[in-house]
Symmetry: D2
Subunit: 181 residues, 4 copies
């Protein structure tokens, strides 16, 4: 059991994503569609140094290391500063240069709050934030800042093992495949 068993006992269902635009996917995604897979939701900003040096490379390594039929990596561009320059066009150029190929949702901005709507719904404290959602759609871990590969791997391994034992694996073929840009 990883170091924080109590956090793993959390039962909160992951709120829906509030998305204004998608990148790297032929059609919009929903978490419901991804039910049956472990979901790694990685919230970042393209001008956030910790995201660029740590969070995004880790998300890319997760994408490479695991079978997309059992684990889905989803990016979330949660802009809460420098809105004028972190546009969709800028994100698209950034994703191209950094070879990001997982689906990326643009977190919908809020009319009455400085933080975008998904970021609020998940009570994220900043970027990077990595959320682990199990095959049943529950939030199991939420890491703000850096998290070591070893511990994160153990958390993922546990969720994958549970998934195998709950018989949800059979749902995979019905799910939309991730597209590489």
């Amino acid at each position: 059991m990883p170091a924080k068993p109590s956090a793993l006992a959390s039962q909160r269902f992951a709120p829906p994503l509030f998305v204004s635009q998608w990148l790297n996917t032929p059609a919009p995604l929903t978490l419901e569609q991804l039910r049956g897979r472990v979901v790694v939701l990685h919230a970042f900003q393209m001008l956030c140094p910790g995201c660029v040096s740590h969070g995004l490379p880790q998300a890319m390594e997760i994408q490479r290391a695991f079978d997309p039929r059992t684990l889905a990596v989803v990016g979330l561009h949660s802009v809460f500063e420098h809105h004028d320059v972190m546009t969709f066009a800028a994100l698209r150029a950034f994703a191209h240069e950094y070879r990001l190929s997982f689906p990326i949702a643009v977190d919908e901005s809020s009319d009455d709050h400085p933080l975008p709507r998904t970021m609020q719904a998940y009570a994220m404290q900043g970027t990077p934030t990595l959320v682990l959602i199990d095959a049943l759609g529950r939030i199991r871990e939420q890491h703000f800042g850096t998290v070591a590969d070893l511990l994160l791997g153990a958390e993922i391994g546990q969720l994958l093992a549970e998934r195998g034992q709950t018989g949800t694996a059979g749902l995979s073929p019905h799910l939309p495949e991730e597209k590489s840009a």
Copy 2:
């Protein structure tokens, strides 16, 4: 499921350790005593550069990251070259300088073979080699050379999750505790 599900299906029981001497433990250990815990067996040589730069720091991080009641790290000093200088006294000085605090077995040398006996029994190809043994005593992974923390973490997480579900956790209190040197 980690990237190599077929390897995880392996059912071979871990051979016993052939040990001439122990370090960092008040009494000799056996794998049978550790049954009920996931065991990370790390075979190394103190003069092996890849062990010093990669394998041993990874073993130490595993020891720090997981609860010793559910996962045991065991070192194995499998000397197959420079026997005259990789003595027990040298290993003890090495372990002191590198702050290794997990139990370390000295792999028993062979009368009729250049490789020590445990190394032979596990068919290890060299050092570093990391063996993952599940709570039931079966070899589940054996990595020669470097293995990424993320993948290794996922393998460990899976074994810990299985362990939780097979009810073996209850055995832990009866097991000898690891000693910090």
Copy 3:
């Protein structure tokens, strides 16, 4: 002597910088004003991964390691792709987030060429490019891509030693100081 003595014998004077805008300096700079100091000119693009992971951290370390009265670090934002999103406003946000405090020139775009004008004048092949200019204003090294700290340090040390011996050090007090943003 560093590994490429022949390159060090180059005598070409550094072409002037073609600049549309400056960041992190109260007034525009010219290389002539910096005569008497060793100049490290670092050409980058804010969306260039190698610049962000290697080139800019190295430029920042150079700025920290050496006395600004004897060595000046100057950034050059040489945009040759994604012009619509690598704007001055975007660069300013980027420089703020990455804590870049050395003066940064925006390389002037060309009417008749895809590469900006300073990039052309120096025959740069891409970004990152690091140009070492001696106290007499001559290009002494031009590195495209990554260059190891040890070798780069040796090149800088040689130029600083030469500078000390040519009596140009006395000019330093008359030069404009660098401003930290």
Copy 4:
């Protein structure tokens, strides 16, 4: 000029090396023989973690980066603990495994002092220690612990530049060449 100009003004001549045995050289070396070259003297212990992870790799990179006719790297095995296991035979095995090919002097032990004699003569505080000796045989820098490649490179570059200007370069052909093991 590097960050510590005052240290560079030191004029102390490097004491002779007290050596019980040599490795990686066909004949004993003296600093006098190396006069005319910049000398990087790297004091280490084979069981010192900081030496293995930082000091020795840096010494090897210096050896690779610079012309052996102008700069000589010399190792110094200054054992002040675990004498019984850091023997010459152990050092030889260590140097073989880590591919150390520069000459290594075994610092002569002292009858009446726990520190070996060269270590005492240089007033070294521990290992790793890196001593920079100029072409005229003077100690110019002495770093205990880690030193960044960029700063160390600048110090080396300065000494190499001075060497070029004092006409000592011409001595190089007469000096014994380093041997690769």
